[in-house]
């Protein structure tokens, strides 16, 4: 390992590979192409893709929280529901309905700050169920609002002021933009100094703290980002469904979906949740009609993946091939083989 041979082929730290450059360009191109969706696709597919974008947001946000922050939350539907609720409230107060969708997500992100101060003091399983209680409490409190009328619910009436066609296209574009922005934010964040801290916390929280990573502040950042992103997904879901029945938004089935997408795709990998969302979207199209068995299957898949393939499909691919499509880490090129 010493001598001229080593200096000749000095190991270089690299982030980009030709393949990853191509895939980032491809990702941007796909998003640009998707922007033409409502102009060329039939309405059915526009709706379906809108749903897919929402799933991608949910998966990427849950993965940021659990895969990178090490914070497994059963209670993310709290933010999904609050996002929809805030949008209903804002629209009811006369705010432009599209603006209220985005503002709702920001408001929920703001509300997540004080929640984080309490919840982040809990560890592992306690945090997971503690967040579940947060979701239950948020659900019950929203039910008390006269506007919502308990489980009867209400709807985003302001939305009906727009024609079905323009509404469909607008919500599609908004969902696409939200997805692109949120995935982009996570990508940039993970590549930054904070990203190094986040990944250090993921790998070993105590060791990260020992080398000077501000663990709590970093976790808080992810928690708030995940809350705002999940709220955005909830507001978008409301925009496609129009009706707001608290039960369907605060329900724990959303957690099952998020866990399924992230576990199957690849917990703690950047590409994994994107893959997981597409898989979930496909499976739902095929088996969603089979009702209860479909949910049994989701639960069983989550159980099996957590036991036998905890880093999901993408994690398994990454460990076998040096494949980094959207690089958030570094790799060593030309390093001595016998390291």
């Amino acid at each position: 390992m010493s001598g001229p041979a080593a200096t000749e082929a000095a190991p270089a730290v690299e982030r980009w590979t030709p393949l990853s450059r191509i895939s980032v360009v491809a990702a941007v191109a796909i998003i640009a192409a998707l922007a033409f969706g409502p102009l060329v696709l039939n309405p059915d597919w526009v709706d379906k893709l809108t749903t897919l974008f929402i799933y991608v947001i949910l998966a990427v946000m849950w993965n940021a929280l659990a895969g990178y922050g090490g914070l497994v939350s059963i209670g993310q539907p709290a933010f999904f529901g609050l996002g929809a609720y805030a949008a209903v409230r804002l629209a009811d107060a006369g705010v432009n309905v599209y603006l209220s969708l985005v503002a709702a997500a920001l408001l929920v992100g703001l509300a997540a700050r004080p929640i984080s101060a309490f919840m982040l003091r809990l560890k592992a399983g306690e945090f997971a169920i503690g967040m579940w209680v947060v979701a239950e409490l948020a659900h019950l409190l929203v039910n008390l609002d006269g506007l919502v009328q308990g489980e009867t619910g209400t709807s985003l009436i302001a939305m009906t002021a727009y024609g079905a066609e323009s509404r469909r296209a607008a919500v599609y574009w908004l969902a696409l933009a939200a997805m692109a922005v949120l995935v982009g934010v996570v990508f940039v964040l993970l590549r930054s100094r904070t990203g190094a801290a986040i990944q250090a916390i993921r790998d070993d929280e105590d060791a990260a703290a020992a080398v000077g990573v501000r663990v709590l502040a970093t976790k808080r950042l992810i928690f708030i980002l995940a809350a705002a992103g999940t709220a955005m997904a909830g507001a978008l879901w409301l925009a496609t469904a129009i009706s707001f029945q608290p039960k369907t938004y605060f329900g724990v089935q959303w957690t099952a979906y998020m866990i399924f997408m992230v576990l199957v795709g690849g917990l703690g990998t950047f590409e994994g949740p994107l893959l997981g969302a597409v898989i979930f979207f496909t499976i739902e199209a095929w088996f969603g009609g089979s009702g209860v068995w479909y949910l049994v299957g989701l639960g069983a898949t989550a159980l099996l993946f957590s036991l036998f393939l905890p880093r999901g499909i993408w994690g398994a691919v990454e460990s076998r091939f040096p494949l980094r499509l959207l690089p958030v880490g570094y790799r060593l090129r030309g390093a001595p083989k016998s390291l």
């Binding site: 008390l144 949910l295 049994v296």
Partner: protein
């Protein structure tokens, strides 16, 4: 007087919460993991008893003789097949695997039994509504009193078992240090499986009483898990008796909340949970996370 009655009812309700919570915190104390399927398994036991009563005319109490051994076996298998493997994957994997399991159980129950709300009350004769009248406003239901007594007996029995039997001592030793116990000839895997079996039996007892005193449906499990968790955290879970205290506080908060507002039952319970949690966090003591140390100190 109406308030006194609400508090009395809350205290009695706390007995049920202590029953459902003790298995959860026991398992956390020994294996350091929270079983998210705990509530769903209790509801599964309730359905098993309901089926035995409805189809084979076996009284729910006799049915326990059939169901509890099955639950012990289930706990053993659960530990060997799922929890042990999960725990090796780190602190997060058990949450994911047991959540997946809970979703599976809930939906399989729905598939098998449908959405109808059930109760074991019809199979209990007059026990389900008999009560002692203390004053004009205060009634003590015989079933509620029985559940409370069962909670005290079960918690006391568990405590005696932990401090006076060979297996109990092995469980405490394993909770303290699972690696070291191997050196003194304790098989930690078997001890953990036994602890999981015990926890599932307590979940079964809780499920039976849930089904007797109230109604249940296939999706009732998650809420029971939340109640169990809240009672364990409020009680500080420093000891099994702390769990009883936590259950009572939760029950009282809920029944007082219900008196204030029809929606207040659950809200007041959740608020009591957060209040207890944060007062403890800011007082510098963790919630159920402190159990192992306390378990050691308590039984030392």
């Amino acid at each position: 007087m109406i308030w006194v009655n609400q508090i009395v009812q809350g205290v009695l309700l706390g007995g049920y919460y202590a029953l459902i919570a003790c298995g959860l915190s026991f398992m956390f104390g020994v294996m350091r993991l929270i079983n998210l399927a705990h509530g769903s398994i209790a509801v599964m036991a309730a359905f098993a008893l309901w089926m035995l009563s409805g189809r084979f005319q076996i009284s729910p109490f006799a049915g326990l003789a059939v169901v509890l051994p099955l639950l012990a076996a289930l706990g053993w298998v659960l530990q060997r097949a799922v929890l042990e493997r999960s725990a090796r994957g780190g602190a997060l994997v058990p949450i994911l695997s047991t959540f997946g399991l809970a979703i599976m159980i809930d939906n399989l129950l729905f598939q098998q039994f449908g959405a109808d709300t059930r109760s074991l009350a019809p199979y209990l004769d007059t026990l389900s509504y008999d009560s002692w009248t203390i004053t004009d406003d205060i009634y003590v239901g015989k079933l509620a009193a029985m559940i409370f007594a069962a909670a005290v007996v079960l918690l006391g029995g568990l405590q005696l078992f932990l401090s006076n039997t060979q297996l109990g001592r092995s469980i405490r030793a394993t909770a303290a240090d699972a690696d070291t116990v191997g050196l003194i000839g304790i098989n930690a895997r078997r001890v953990n499986a036994a602890a999981a079996a015990i926890a599932m039996v307590t979940a079964g007892v809780a499920g039976a009483f849930l089904a007797m005193r109230a109604t249940f449906n296939p999706y009732a499990g998650p809420l029971q898990l939340i109640f169990a968790f809240e009672a364990a955290v409020i009680g500080g879970a420093g000891s099994l008796w702390g769990t009883l205290g936590g259950g009572i506080l939760l029950g009282v908060a809920q029944s007082v909340g219900a008196q204030i507002n029809p929606q207040g039952f659950l809200i007041a319970g959740h608020l009591a949970f957060f209040l207890a949690l944060f007062s403890r966090l800011y007082a510098g003591k963790a919630g159920i996370g402190r159990l192992p140390q306390r378990l050691r100190r308590l039984f030392a």
